[in-house]
Subunit: 229 residues, 2 copies
DNA sequence: TGAGTAATTTTGTGATATCATATTCAGTGT
DNA sequence: ACACTGAATATGATATCACAAAATTACTCA
């Protein structure tokens, strides 16, 4: 079925007892997060329903949730599309991402344990391996896991959903950046993050997170958007 | 009908050509934002449907969207409730609110015009009038309008939805605070915000926003949560 | 009287049916 | 060829229907 390729992303494994709507939501969200759906692409609910062999009802619920997160756009014609990126919006999103993640990282420090740092280091090593093979999707996922692991150690944490919402908005465009440049950023700022964690140094951690985000996407993304404009 | 009182909030006026789902979403969101629904309260979709004279379908969509924003909680039994507040979560939400709003305010400064400042001052005056009459709901709405007006002058702004999501999570609890204390915070930090805007002083603006949030809800909220715990 | 269990009711979920609107396509006339 | 118009089609939105799971109630037995 041609429509299925709209989500050219592997089926995700899924606990059996969840709802269909949740499955669709998770699958679409994942596809958008790794940039599997091109910005500007138009989707139809019935198309998605046919592709996933479901009725429109759970599709609509999932799509509505994603539009609330600004991962999808409901156009005035009631059609939906993946939002296009502009330079202004891009810079706002990156700036917001830095502010949020520096904040979340700082509030995680009191709860950091050696075990967590070691787990994060292990994730970073895995990223190096995946990087060598050029698996961009896996790289994106691992990078997010790395960051999320840090923010999640704070037991009262409320930032992660907000941060993920920003990731979601940057996702489709980030893929374009990776594909166009056909290379990933050179320096690995994750080592810097890990060092700051070992030292429990809030200042250094903030700097490291900021650099990681800036170098990871900001510079190259701005290049591309400027040459278009 | 008794169920309708679940949302003891006036009907909001609503453009005629929007969808039912959007109407339900807006109405529920508003009710939660001003704290019209008590934390811990259980809602049923069919109950809401009956109260609003609608089928469960648009209700489900609206509720799903709100649960994505963490304004409602879907329990493992598939029931839904307004989340309860804890001290830890409260402090995280307030800290996040400060970080976000200081960020958004700073990024608005380059776009500030005298006209906007005057409009904000007018809103603040109206708040003083409403305050004298003890209309807490109207006060909450006006306060949000005041803040939103500032952040919205940035044309590439992406913060407002995120900030509103935090407001939404604080809403039900904030109402409890106002009711229990039966008074509103004394000093009006909005004047301080407006002065900083006239001066185009980013530093002072950040301080003013921080103080406004802290004094407005943080102190009294913490008091209440601590005496419970 | 109280605890456990079966029957009833309520509820959430997803598929289907229906309707209004938007889009696409074919045909007409210039 | 090209713009315009009307028919046909596709789409989104909501209500209704069917089903399964959960909650509630009623009932039984100790």
């Amino acid at each position: 079925m041609a429509k299925a390729d709209t989500l050219n992303v592997p089926e995700i494994d899924f606990g059996a007892d969840r709802t269909t709507q949740e499955y669709v939501y998770a699958r679409l969200r994942n596809a958008i997060m790794v940039g599997a759906i091109e910005p500007g692409a138009h989707l139809t609910m019935r198309g998605l329903a046919e592709a996933l062999n479901l009725s429109p009802t759970p599709i609509r619920e999932a799509v509505r949730r994603l539009s609330t997160e600004h991962a999808l756009q409901i156009l005035p014609n009631r059609r939906m599309a993946v939002p296009l990126m502009t330079l202004g919006r891009f810079e706002e999103l990156v700036a917001l991402r830095i502010t949020l993640e520096v904040h979340a990282a700082a509030r995680s420090v009191p709860y950091i344990s050696d075990i967590i740092i070691e787990k994060m280091a292990a994730l970073d090593d895995e990223m190096d391996r995946v990087l060598a093979q050029g698996h961009y999707d896996a790289l994106t996922i691992l990078n997010q896991d790395f960051h999320r692991m840090l923010y999640a150690v704070n037991p009262h944490q409320v930032c992660i959903p907000v941060i993920e919402s920003v990731w979601l908005q940057l996702g489709p465009f980030q893929r374009q950046v990776l594909v166009r440049l056909n290379q990933v950023p050179g320096v690995d700022h994750h080592k810097q993050i890990i060092n700051a964690l070992w030292a429990r140094d809030v200042e250094a951690l903030g700097e490291a997170v900021k650099n990681d985000i800036r170098e990871g996407i900001s510079r190259s993304g701005r290049q591309i958007l400027e040459q278009v404009a």
